[in-house]
Amino acid sequence: MNLDINRYSKTAVTLLILAAIAKAISLGSIYFLNRSGVSQTVDNSYTMPYKSYRFSKPFGVVDVVVKSEDVVKVNQPVYNLSSLELKAIYKTHNGGFIVALDNTKGKRSVFIKMLSEYNGYTLKELTNEKATFERNGQKYKLEFKKKKSSALMAEPIARPKTQKYSDDVIRAVSKSEVHKYTKDFKSIWKSISIKEVKQNGKIDGFKVTSIKQGTIFDKLGLKKDDIIISVNNKPMKSYASAFKIYKDVKTMTSLKITVKRDNQTKDLEYEIY
């Protein structure tokens, strides 16, 4: 019996010693390990949504037209309004109205009176062939559907007329076209490829390494080798800031992309409608 107690106590003492050694090794190893974790700081600060304000407007001051013919054209661009399909124009002595089908609302018929507003567009002028709308100082025309251009008219967007813009002009991009890209993540990478630009080990913008002709990014005026340094005055210093723009672009009404092109900083401004 005595022998058994001795044997058990010997085993217990050995196990205790082993446990003490194991614990000591564990405590010793803590010295070489990290004692605090890593956490991500998320910027939750509220920033006012970006709006493109032109201060000359409320005072009735018209922007001075400078030099070339190109710029003159660009100050009064005319866009096609293809979200609406013009069905009839009624001119009366006190103005008139139009009947149109709204493609974005399942081809619902709408009546728009002269000088009234529809989706932010004000009907300003009527002729036998077309209705002219105005929005934020820019003109949009609505014409009767032509057979040849039916494919174009079927797009439920207000698409800018294909014309060359100078870099200093505010361009128009349709919301539906923007949405198309936000819904299909992969189509972005089919259209554009960008690469981070690093300075002192930190991201200092994103370089456009390739751009597909005819895509929205091409229409936006972005060019290969442009370095996108900020969007809506928010510097592109991380993937998170780029992703935030991707997430928020659905609700934006205007967009300003600041790029470095040929060592010069350029602002590309867009109105999303």
Binding site: K23, I30, V38, Q40, K186, A240
Partner: protein, 176 residues
């Protein structure tokens, strides 16, 4: 012979004690530093050492600063002969819904002595059931995915990387 058996038993017990007392939380923090270099961050998690298991509750996952989603429960067990890493209820960022499933119910990655050649993978999520293995010797990742028909169009972007086998199961293989 008896003495050898006893010595082996003591060695086994000592190893188990080492595993039990190992500073899992600090080891995890050190692993986090390595992951940070790969731009992967687990943030805001509650870390708990439960003896042989390390548990992480409500971890927010970030990749390159972009929020990837939240994982309710991650547990890592090391029992020498049986090791497992399991994720339960992962809710991925809805902004990535086009390329990734919104929810992963569970994902278990196991390495056990009874299958020493394979690290097995088993999981279930919005997209369907996933199973597969990693063969560390031939450096092969093999994943089989069983997807419901309606999910096939929803996750078309992700599923383009998979190829159907003769049974109709979607298979993805990667040699690294």
């Amino acid at each position: 012979m008896r003495k050898l058996g006893l010595a082996l038993a003591y060695i086994f017990v000592f190893i188990m004690m080492l595993l039990y007392f190992s500073p899992k939380v600090e080891l995890y923090y050190t692993l986090e530093e390595f992951l940070k270099k790969e731009k992967i961050i687990f943030s805001d998690e509650r870390v708990k050492n439960s003896g042989f298991t390390l548990e992480l509750d409500n971890s927010k996952l970030f990749y390159r600063g972009v929020y990837g989603g939240e994982i309710e429960d991650i547990s890592l067990s090391t029992l020498l002969l049986y090791n497992s890493l399991s994720f339960k209820n992962a809710y991925l960022n809805s902004a990535l819904a086009d390329i990734l499933p919104k929810k992963i119910d569970y994902l278990n990655i196991t390495y056990a002595i009874y299958n020493p050649v394979h690290i097995t993978i088993d999981g279930k999520g919005d997209i369907g059931k996933i199973s597969g293995y990693i063969n560390p010797f031939s450096k092969l990742l093999h994943i089989e995915l069983r997807v419901a028909k309606k999910e096939k169009t929803k996750y078309a972007t992700l599923l383009r990387k998979f190829k159907p086998d003769e049974k109709g199961v979607l298979v993805y293989e990667l040699r690294y």
